[in-house]
Symmetry: C2
Subunit: 295 residues, 2 copies
């Protein structure tokens, strides 16, 4: 077996992502010699202990990061600034701080300023998830065949980037490095806007007159059902994502709304060519995804 | 085995739905003694013959309906008025005309006026589908456990309604009867609007600058991927559905757009409570669907 990438990995947050990393690290042995789990409540840490997915549990984030050569923030991104402030004075020299947040410019803005000289910061975004959350939701295969995007700021230590890359590759992900601003635009359209739309349409249905609403639930065709699958996600996590990728998300929503209005106009005036063209473009994108093995 | 519901069933169109009904009728034997398939092209009919899913094939719809005690329109709803005009003079006395279209007021408007005295009209909407189309796409299990909604106009012969109900129950569906206008509003929100949104967001992504578009395809997270699954549907069928459920669809889109703008405003101004509330409502609807066994 290869040597572990890290001696001591501190996971700040053990929800779906954090607990999956913990499970993988414990089962493989080549990611970290010791896994420390931190969570906001004793109840969560007791559950982590019961599940046996960490070597140590610690309720105080400042103590959890002591002696850790890698600290991975796995909390909702809105909590990052306060967490960074808490843990920064306790980081050991040379420690690598990384995260798993879905927004990257905000993470660099919120964490970067607190980190002491001599520590390294490698923001990461494993693109994997389910609609479930909490320490019970994690599983070893979560990252298999999925992307993990790293967005290290200019000047980040190459060795630190390389170690985080190895960690995620050992978790089963394919790693790609990109600029944080570019990352935020891409995820705004592929993930954040679809979630905003899914949450919204569920609310629109819920606002219908009571008789119709009951039948919406009864007759949910595949279209609506797929939307609710997306919509069944963690409220705090998504609130933080929306607020922390605001500019890109609002731009993509504005583009989408213009396009939806153009489609509405085509429906109103019977512009058959326009409608068919849009449906065909949907098929084309679908086919491209299938060709890229993403569908 | 029970007696067949019909002596001779004429399917006008043998795409996903029509060819599934044909397969079921041939395999069960208690739906129709003879299945006649009609399509617009000889190529499709040759394929139907090769697949062995009909007893007879006939390129002329007027001849296909001769001696049929049940005629089922399985073409895109935009073709119904012309088809009704063609077949009406050739319907046998007492024949039941039915259909499988996703819009019901338009179908009653387009078919009703052409049908001669002494024939019956029972509009139907089996709520089942996949993203595939054509005679090869059909399969025997398509309607198992799915809803089929009947919207017979006031005064429709009870025996005719009962026979169409039996046909769909033998296809595996659960039948419910409702008013056509109510039907159109329900499907506008559960199916037509989600499809319009899915087609639109694929176009929005396709319009992005080339570099971003490539990465959209590369990194399509589960959100976007689910949308493209919906979007990979038949362009003519969906064009016709949008145009023939225009009023209900535009109303639901207007409601959705208002709600999306309210969400955008909450994101812009950091209204955390509003955002969390919307995400929680999505979860609630999701849970209601699970409780109803639709998820």
């Amino acid at each position: 077996m290869a040597d572990p990438v890290f001696e001591r990995l501190a996971l700040i947050g053990v929800g779906l992502i954090g607990s999956s990393v913990a499970r993988i690290a414990r089962s493989r042995g080549d990611i970290a010699r010791v896994v420390v789990a931190n969570a906001r409540t004793e109840a969560t840490l007791n559950r982590v202990a019961d599940l046996g997915i960490a070597d140590l549990t610690e309720i105080d984030p400042a103590r959890a990061v002591e002696d850790a050569d890698c600290v991975m923030l796995c909390a909702p991104v809105g909590a990052y600034a306060a967490l960074a402030q808490q843990i920064a004075p306790h980081l050991m020299p040379g420690a690598i701080v990384t995260d798993v947040g879905s927004t990257k410019q905000s993470v660099i803005r919120d964490i970067g300023p607190f980190l002491p000289q001599g520590t390294h910061f490698v923001p990461a975004h494993p693109m994997a998830g389910t609609e479930f959350s909490g320490p019970d939701a994690g599983f070893i295969e979560l990252f298999q065949g999925r992307w993990c995007l790293l967005t290290p700021p200019t000047g980040t230590d190459d060795r630190a980037v390389s170690k985080i890359r190895t960690l995620w590759e050992r978790c089963g992900a394919t790693v790609s490095i990109m600029d944080a601003a570019h990352h935020d635009r891409v995820v705004a359209i592929v993930s954040h806007l679809p979630h905003l739309i899914a949450f919204t349409i569920c609310g629109t249905a819920d606002d219908l007159a009571d008789e119709t609403r009951q039948e919406v639930l009864r007759f949910a065709a595949s279209g609506f059902r797929d939307f609710t699958r997306i919509a069944a996600s963690d409220p705090v996590m998504w609130r933080d994502i929306f607020l922390n990728n605001r500019d890109a998300l609002l731009e993509m929503l504005a583009r989408f709304t213009e396009d939806a209005q153009a489609m509405a106009r085509a429906v109103r005036w019977g512009d058959t060519t326009y409608i068919e063209d849009k449906v065909l473009r949907g098929r084309k994108i679908r086919q491209a995804l299938i060709d890229l093995n993403q569908a």
